[in-house]
């Protein structure tokens, strides 16, 4: 019998390049072009509140080398000693910690709800209205209510983040759970695979694309909301810093924090999300 190995599907078709395939040089050139356009706008229109990139750079350096707020000053270990010397690192750390807490809480709760709703149609029908309500609740309203009900605390902030993200995760995972292939689950049952093995090797891999999609969408949502919640209810973190800079019209500092924040998000995307995605979807290549 001949070994009729099929050609990988889609190889001959023109398809959009993924960011990793685009190459570093393309991305760098694109960022340089953006910087040039930025400076051109300043040169051409001389706007009052758009600083030169060099001023943003200086602000970044100042913020990065100025000690942080009192909450960062802990003598517990070397990590905190280093963080306490940089206000920017300290505030970024607080924001990232809150975002991570909200993210994982929402992923766990939202995934469980999504899986249950995806499998039980009657429950899905009953709770669908709740999900739609949750999806349309303004993030700011949730934040205000949580702060009013639970005080200006970390718990209230993380809860507000989770409440905002849970419906989104639940909806996406519900789609995945509803489209689980029963044929493959039958294989696991027929060969008496253990529950744990079935979950790990058969069930969850089918949900993985939905987990990733909800993680990405949820992360984008959380980055935005966490700043608003810090802005209105916390005394540290990037959002709180924005409140101060906004009061003083320190636009270069706002931009310095913004770029740092974006850099962190891109690092997470590059070193965590994308490798996970690549590993789990390599069979589709």
């Amino acid at each position: 019998m001949g070994q009729n190995v099929q050609q990988p599907r889609g190889r001959t078709k023109v398809r959009p390049l993924s960011p990793s395939e685009g190459g570093g040089w393309v991305r760098i050139s694109s960022l340089v072009a953006l910087a040039v356009i930025w400076e051109f706008i300043i040169w051409a229109f001389e706007p009052d509140y758009l600083p030169h990139l060099s001023e943003v750079g200086k602000a970044f350096w100042t913020l990065a080398t100025t000690p942080g707020p009192w909450s960062c000053h802990r003598d517990t270990n070397l990590f905190w000693e280093i963080v306490s010397r940089s206000g920017l690192a300290c505030n970024l750390g607080f924001t990232l910690f809150r975002a991570a807490a909200g993210f994982f809480t929402a992923m766990i709760i939202g995934s469980v709800i999504g899986i249950v709703l995806g499998h039980y149609r009657s429950l899905d029908r009953f709770f669908d209205g709740w999900i739609v309500l949750g999806l349309n609740l303004p993030a700011l309203v949730v934040g205000i209510l949580c702060y009013v009900w639970f005080g200006l605390s970390e718990f209230a902030l993380v809860l507000a983040l989770a409440i905002n993200k849970v419906p989104l995760v639940a909806v996406m995972v519900r789609e995945g759970a509803a489209s689980i292939q029963p044929d493959l689950i039958q294989v696991a049952k027929a060969f008496r695979m253990s529950w744990f093995q079935t979950m790990r090797k058969v069930y969850l891999p089918q949900l993985f694309p939905y987990f990733m999609a909800s993680a990405r969408a949820g992360l984008a949502l959380i980055w935005k909301i966490v700043l608003v919640l810090e802005f209105i209810g916390r005394s540290n973190g990037v959002g709180f810093q924005f409140q101060i800079f906004f009061s003083n019209f320190e636009i270069e500092k706002v931009l310095a924090y913004t770029f740092s924040f974006i850099a962190v998000v891109m690092l997470i995307e590059t070193f965590i999300m994308r490798p996970m995605d690549r590993k789990a979807t390599r069979w589709r290549m």
Partner: protein, 255 residues
């Protein structure tokens, strides 16, 4: 020689709910037994409940009236069996080797049986390949390796070679017979292809249109190996069609 019953099937009724709210009776009064090591072919036109029967034998479907015992145990209490479905049903995110190894028991793993079976099936060079890169025939060979990896005492096959071209299907049939004889497995092989049943089986059970039940139990005492389209096989098949024209109506159209 006295035959010891290995598989005993007494299904009084198997029903499915219909979309309209009624009931569809898939199997009714289905009774037969299979001795150890026998290759039994179940033949019948589409929709006679053949796959339903295999799902009951494998323990996937437990909602029926009646009883099924495999070596004295209910299907879910019996030692794991091998099941080759109509489509290969390989996990697309696992490599060919991983697909076999996830169902392998400890002794199969210790003896590297998955690797050995894949080598036997000329898939040695494709162990680390994902199933979507393989042809249909290669995927079915991998599924056959998966069915055999635990050296099951009973093997269920549901039209495993359907829609394959003749040379590939023939090669896989020989491979299957070799493995069955090597492991003395009891086989229940579902097909609607009479020629395939005559080529492979020790016995053919013909099923009626739904509700499915056995309407003819035909032993096949032809010598082995049987050559596909060989004279002896063709004579046997033609005689069957001539003797039971009503029961076998429609089965000769497949060829």
């Amino acid at each position: 020689m006295a035959h010891v019953t290995f598989l005993q099937v007494d299904i009084a009724e198997k029903k499915f709910p219909t979309v309209e709210g009624g009931e569809f009776i898939a199997l009714s009064g289905l009774n037969f037994s299979v001795p150890k090591g026998q290759f039994t072919c179940i033949v019948g036109p589409s929709g006679t409940g053949k796959t339903t029967l295999l799902n009951i034998l494998s323990g996937l479907d437990t909602k029926y009236q009646g009883s099924v015992t495999i070596d004295g145990n209910t299907p879910n209490e019996a030692p794991p069996l091998g099941y080759m479905f109509q489509s290969p049903r390989l996990m697309p995110w696992l490599t060919v080797l991983e697909n076999i190894r996830i169902v392998a028991n400890e002794s199969a793993r210790n003896e590297n049986r998955a690797e050995k079976l894949l080598e036997e099936m000329d898939l040695g060079g494709f162990m680390e390949t994902f199933p979507n890169r393989l042809s249909g025939g290669m995927q079915r060979r991998a599924a056959l390796a998966r069915a055999f990896v635990n050296q099951p005492s009973m093997l269920l096959l549901d039209e495993p070679f359907i829609s394959l071209d003749t040379p590939v299907a023939d090669r896989l049939r020989h491979l299957l017979l070799d493995l069955c004889h090597a492991h003395n497995a009891t086989v229940v092989f579902v097909t609607h292809d009479l020629r395939e049943a005559v080529q492979l089986g020790d016995r053919i059970l013909f099923m009626s249109p739904s509700p499915g039940r056995v309407v003819l139990d035909q032993p096949i005492d032809l010598s082995r190996p049987r050559v596909s389209d060989g004279e002896e096989m063709e004579t046997f098949r033609s005689q069957l069609l001539k003797d039971y024209p009503d029961i076998l109506a429609g089965l000769d159209k497949e060829e």
